[in-house]
Amino acid sequence: MTSLITSLRNAWETRFYRWIDQRSPRARQVHLNRKNLYTFPNLTGLLYTAITFVIWLLGTNYQNNLILALSYLLVSIFVVSILHAFANLAGISIRFVGARPAFAGDPAAFVLELNCINKAGCDNLELRWPGGETQVITLDHNEPQQVIVRAQSVQRGYLRPGRLLVQSRFPLGIIRCWTWLNLDASALIYPAPIFTDEPHAQASNGREEGGTSQRGGDDFSGLRDYQAGDPIKHIAWKQFAQDKGLFTKEYEAYLSAEKWLDWDSLNHPQELRLSGLCYWALDYERRQIPYGLRLPGLNLAPALGEHHQQAVLTALGEFNLPREAKHAR
């Protein structure tokens, strides 16, 4: 029974969204107008209707024309608030500016630019990707504003956040005016950094790594703040038990030298390998050890710096994506 309802509901939603998509095809910039805005009373609106009915009953039973007039006034306010809710959103244009990359599992930030050509501006505007958190903003007349709306990412690759929900309950909260925008937006998602064994350059590459590359973990050098992905065995439990916070014991075992993030040096499934490479890329960058990336069909020479890190992470995020995911770019 439940499954029947669920499947019916899914079928209905699919149909509905298809209809929505037909009405608002994918675009980088969208203007809100009567073609793509919907209005409907919400639960508060229902309660309001009940209150109106109570007042009408009071007026009818006491044969009191002024109370009746008040109940009619409430009905009129309801009607007018539909128009006001619509006017609040009509005239807004929304443009997708860009997205900041994120690690898989983290929310990705999509930057939108909104402008409102209503003289009165726009109040209490809520923006949300499906499953994401709601961003509430206010727009002034003809003053473009950039807003970050985050969407939750699950896996590396290109994240298509789906339809952007744009809604407002202003001015009276009894009418919800909303739309789903099919913005042409996507964000690159890097692999989630996960601790693995340190990748080693293969001897076959003909380059021996410089310095002494002892397996790290022998010489305790100090404590630093815990960061996600740090191995559990390196956590300073003693300090944690003393309520000083979560720290990671650092073992300075490496002498500065170039490191290679070599695809072949790790023996894991693909995604875990990429996550491991990602972890070590961040680790080297933090410790200022130049590092290079060696993926099947791609070689990035060892270097340091933000641009290099971005190039490495981008390569990891884009590596060997399924065809349709690539297409989404």
């Binding site: 039973n61 007039a69 008040l70 006034l73 009905v75 005239g91 900041r100 929310p107 109040d123 202003f170």
Partner: protein, 670 residues
């Protein structure tokens, strides 16, 4: 992708902790003001300690906001609610009525404030606020009350809107925007008010108690004299045609037919009797139609001219008794309107008869009371005078020796004897009482009628205002072959009382007693007339706008009341409204996309286009002007100035140059 540098976020992803909802300072302030304003008019009709309840909760809530006091626990809240309920129970002595209901509502409205922590709670509080506003009308329905309630609605809308506002806005602006919503809603409300059909009460409601005003169901010497100073309106009459002459304007209220020597009362069976069956055979003359809006007087009887034939009101609660009086099912607690049709003259095809029981009733007098009057009547009877002659004799006696005054001497046990033979000074109740007694003693059936006589004609709206001071008592006498006949003994003493109203009939000292400031000034008198006319219009078209008035108005406005006609009109009005809305929306957005300096340049382009130069897409303004100047060098001054000004306004952040730019474009090419 953004070129902005990014930082790897290695912390475990998680949404920021959701903030506990709380009500901002301004929102709370709005709620407090709104509550105070809504409750204020109710407190005049409710126990005054309710004000204290509100003050305590408001103070508590403020302290909660400041973090001084804690949120009351459920035990405290229950205790507070119980105290309020108990207080109401004590104040109303356990009676449940409209006031108790409204009192409970006000208590709940006040106590709810302690629970308001989120926007959702505040929303609920506002909704209760609308019901509170509605209950204001249970106690007062004057235009002032309506204006006050409208103000309350503006305040409610402004604070309601504030709940959803996400940026700072001045108080005046909030009022303005809230008022805008009301302003937009009012036309729709008017249409709904005019068009929506009215229903009768759906179920019985607890009776409203109205203070009893006017005369009571008994008449003793001095009763009506007290009313003579009361200027408050009793009812207002609108006539379908010309009003009858003033000496026929006897508004019958009650028939008193039992006398105990001092006081006239109704028989107990009054009101149960149905109408006389032979009535239908009577020939009715001088039918007069009129509609009356009566002020609530807390009594079941209503007023009509002799003899009421037909009566109508919305809830069909009025019937006509055997004495041709109008009787409402319940005491009149609210202003109500009814239509009456009266036959001023009635002729009977065969002479009406009183049966033995009725004749006994209408001639019965208490034994041993007023012996001297009794003796006088019997002496007239023994002179072999007929009924008509006895009546004439009595009226002549009044006319000869009696004085009409507001300040009669006090009368004792045998009130009629003292009045007739000793004091000889009295008000209408003295004359009617003595007259009826005389006739009864002579064996002629007679009864006292209480009601109003005359009224003040208002030429502004053409209606008759009958005030409490018009209260009057007269007699009805059974004439063989004719039936009950109205005879006013006061008219025999002071004919002016009937023709021109009480003031003209009184002596000088009495006139000073009733003198009012407005009487002395023509201007004030006119103002008074206009104010009362406005009240009458308000009552007629707003308070008593019922299905009948609705039908009349609609057929006058639309030319008929068929469903299709009303539907068409509604659709038309809806289309007009939608059109207006679309126009307003477009006007608000039109041209807003362009900055003013761009608009000015567009205007310049239009002017150059007339000269045959068109700006290409992607061509800068400078390039375009260069191109124009190449072949039109005489335009150099104007165009270079415009280019410079545009440069300054658009790119050098000097908006103060904008008027010059607009001016230059306007004057171009001269």
């Amino acid at each position: 992708m953004l070129a902005k540098p990014w930082r790897p976020r290695l912390t475990p992803s998680g949404k920021p902790p959701k903030q506990a909802e709380y009500l901002a300072r301004d929102k709370l302030a709005w709620l407090l003001v709104m509550q105070a304003m809504l409750i204020l008019p109710l407190l005049f009709n409710l126990p005054f300690w309710l004000w204290l309840v509100w003050a305590i909760t408001a103070f508590w809530r403020t302290q909660m906001f400041r973090g001084r006091w804690g949120t009351p626990g459920s035990l405290v809240k229950t205790l507070l609610a119980l105290i309020c309920a108990g207080g109401l129970f004590a104040s109303y002595a356990g009676k449940t009525g409209t006031e108790t209901m409204v009192g409970l509502l006000v208590c709940a409205f006040s106590l709810k404030l302690l629970e308001v922590n989120s926007g959702r709670d505040a929303q609920l509080l506002l909704f209760i606020g609308f019901i509170i506003t509605a209950t204001q009308f249970l106690f007062s329905q004057t235009p002032q009350a309506a204006a006050y309630a409208l103000l309350c609605v503006v305040l409610l809308l402004a604070s309601w809107r504030s709940l959803y506002l996400t940026h700072a806005q001045s108080t005046g602006m909030r009022f303005k925007r809230g008022g805008m919503i009301l302003l937009h809603a009012l036309p729709i409300m008017l249409v709904l008010f005019v068009v929506i059909p009215r229903l009768g009460p759906l179920w019985a409601i607890p009776n409203q108690q109205a203070a009893k005003t006017g005369f009571s169901d008994s008449l003793s010497p001095g009763d009506l004299g007290n009313l003579a100073l009361d200027r408050s309106p009793a009812f207002r009459v609108g006539f379908a045609d010309q009003p009858p002459p003033v000496n026929q304007l006897y508004w019958r209220g009650l028939v008193l037919d039992t006398f105990d020597g001092r006081t006239w009362r109704m028989r107990d069976t009054w009101g149960v009797q149905s109408r006389a069956p032979n009535d239908d055979k009577a020939i009715k003359r001088e039918l007069t139609d009129y509609s009356i809006i009566v002020e609530p007087h807390g009594q079941p009887w209503l007023f009509s001219l002799m003899t009421a034939q037909r009566v109508e009101n919305t809830s069909n609660s009025i019937r006509i008794t055997a004495d041709s009086l109008l009787m409402n099912r319940i005491p009149v607690a609210q202003r109500m309107r009814y239509q009456v049709s009266s036959a001023l003259q009635i002729e009977w095809p065969e002479p009406p008869q009183l049966n033995k029981l009725q004749r006994d009733n209408y001639t019965r007098l208490p034994r041993d009371s007023n012996p001297q009057t009794r003796a006088l009547a019997e002496s007239w009877r023994s002179q072999n005078l007929g009924d008509a002659q006895i009546i004439a004799q009595a009226l002549a006696l009044f006319n000869r020796e009696f004085t009409y005054t507001l300040q009669p001497p006090l009368l004792g046990q045998h009130s009629v004897d003292e009045f007739l033979l000793t004091t000889k000074r009295g008000f209408c109740e003295h004359f009617s009482s003595a007259f009826a007694f005389l006739l009864r003693a002579a064996g002629i059936p007679a009864r006292v009628v209480v009601g109003y006589q005359g009224g003040r004609w208002n030429p502004v709206e053409n209606y008759l205002l009958v005030s409490q001071s018009d209260a009057h008592a007269w007699t009805e006498v059974w004439i063989e072959g004719t039936g009950w006949q109205m005879i006013d003994p006061t008219a025999a003493v002071a004919p002016n009382r009937i023709q021109q109203g009480m003031n003209e009939a009184l002596g000088e000292s009495d006139q000073q007693l009733v003198a009012n400031a407005w009487r002395s000034s023509k201007l004030l008198y006119n103002l008074q007339l206009r104010w009362d006319a406005a009240t009458y219009t308000w009552q007629r078209w707003v308070l008593n706008y019922d299905s009948e008035a609705q039908e009349g108005l609609l057929s006058r406005l639309l030319g008929g009341t068929e469903t299709w006609r009303i539907t068409l009109w509604l659709i038309g009005l809806g289309l007009v409204g939608a059109g207006l809305f679309a126009w307003a929306l477009l006007r608000n957005q039109k041209g807003a996309l362009l900055r003013p300096e761009t608009k000015a340049v567009k205007k310049l382009e239009q002017k150059l286009a007339q000269l045959g130069y068109r700006r290409k897409t992607g061509e800068t303004l400078g390039d375009f002007i260069h191109r124009v100047l190449y072949s039109e060098p005489q335009l150099k001054n104007g165009l270079t100035q415009i280019a410079q000004l545009f440069e300054q306004v658009a790119y050098q952040n000097r908006p103060e140059q904008l008027p010059q730019l607009q001016q230059a474009v306007k004057q171009f090419p001269r």
